[in-house]
């Protein structure tokens, strides 16, 4: 998958080995509102992913008895506030929980 040598070839195309910018421009809409919504979706999905990973870790440690009472309180409070903030942000942008699930193609869905 080598790309032909062209004098004006963008860096990104050399790395990816094909006309990536062309493929992208065919797909990405020019509507700024939609682009913003897409980016918001992306950011919130990543934050939600992190929240889930952190929660899983915390529960794992709780089960293993590896958290002091003070730590349990602190971690629990952080996660609780994060979940609430996430719900507020989702509502603000009119996104449902199932909207926060980006399709990464062959890598499957994020969540």
């Amino acid at each position: 998958m080598t790309s032909p040598e062209r004098p004006e070839e963008p860096v990104i195309d050399r790395i990816l080995g094909y006309d990536a910018l062309d493929a992208l421009s065919r797909r990405v809409t020019a509507d700024p509102d939609q682009v913003e919504r897409g980016l918001v979706q992306l950011v919130l999905t990543l934050v939600e992913l992190l929240r889930q990973l952190m929660e899983r870790q915390a529960i794992h440690r709780l089960d293993a008895g590896a958290l002091t009472e003070a730590e349990t309180e602190r971690v629990g409070e952080t996660l609780m506030l994060l979940e609430r903030r996430m719900a507020e942000l989702r509502e603000h942008f009119g996104l449902k929980p199932e909207d926060l699930n980006i399709d990464l193609g062959p890598l499957g869905r994020l969540l």
């Binding site: 889930q52 929660e55 915390a58 529960i59 709780l62 089960d63 009472e69 349990t72 309180e73 602190r74 971690v75 629990g76 409070e77 952080t78 996660l79 609780m80 979940e83 609430r84 719900a87 199932e98 499957g108 869905r109 969540l111």
Partner: protein, 216 residues
């Protein structure tokens, strides 16, 4: 070209109309074939469109053994199609034999308190975390119980992404649906308060790969 399913090379796909309004065509290689539709532009990535796509794939599956393709998959043209066929033919052929006549049903379990609604007021951090932990434990226990029961009837059971609740995919012959319902009904009677709803049967989207991945 919008791709619909992988079928055996010698199979005859029924004459169906695709989501773009055109006829479905069969592109054959030596062992396997791809059922596709020449669309002017990629179909809209929407729920109604996905549903229409599913209905066509479902009709196709009822007449021939088929591996459904994820929606939406659009490729450049016939050459791309043929190249992909040659590349994956042996594994696809094998899987087609293994899934012949089998469909999928999705089990979704619920129990009192399963919907983790945000707590009103201000619970302490500890209370919150312990509550979340309890949810996870109950979910895991429920999934385990359901899987054990389902395996009495299903050829294979796969757990689906846990973020959307306790859901399992079951691979079974369409004729075994009643048997599955009977088994799950017994579980509901044994575990008072726990309930399960069933979706399907539909083509085996969750079972096209041989390897079970951690997340589906």
């Amino acid at each position: 070209m919008l791709l619909y399913a992988v079928i055996r090379a010698e199979a005859e796909s029924p004459a169906l109309v695709g989501v773009c309004g055109g006829g479905l065509e069969t592109h054959r290689d030596a062992e396997v074939a791809l059922v596709a539709e020449a669309c002017d532009r990629p179909p809209e990535n929407s729920r109604p469109m996905a549903l229409r796509y599913y209905e066509i794939v479902d009709q196709l599956s009822r007449s021939v053994s088929a591996l459904p393709i994820r929606f939406p998959t659009t490729v450049g043209g016939r050459d791309d199609v043929i190249r992909e066929l040659a590349r994956r033919a042996p594994q696809w052929r094998r899987r087609l034999d293994e899934l012949d006549g089998l469909a999928e049903m999705v089990l979704r379990a619920s129990w009192p308190g399963a919907a983790a609604t945000p707590e009103s007021g201000h619970p302490s951090g500890s209370a919150y975390l312990r509550h979340r932990a309890a949810l996870v434990h109950t979910a895991e226990q429920t999934a385990g119980q359901l899987e054990r029961r389902a395996r009495l009837v299903c050829r294979d059971v796969r757990r689906l992404s846990a973020t959307q609740g306790v859901r399992l995919a079951c691979l079974l012959p369409r004729t075994a649906e009643l048997e599955l319902r009977r088994v799950l009904n017994e579980w509901q009677q044994d575990e008072v308060g726990r309930e399960v709803t069933l979706g399907g049967p539909w083509p085996p989207f969750s079972f096209v790969d041989v390897q079970e991945t951690a997340y589906r």
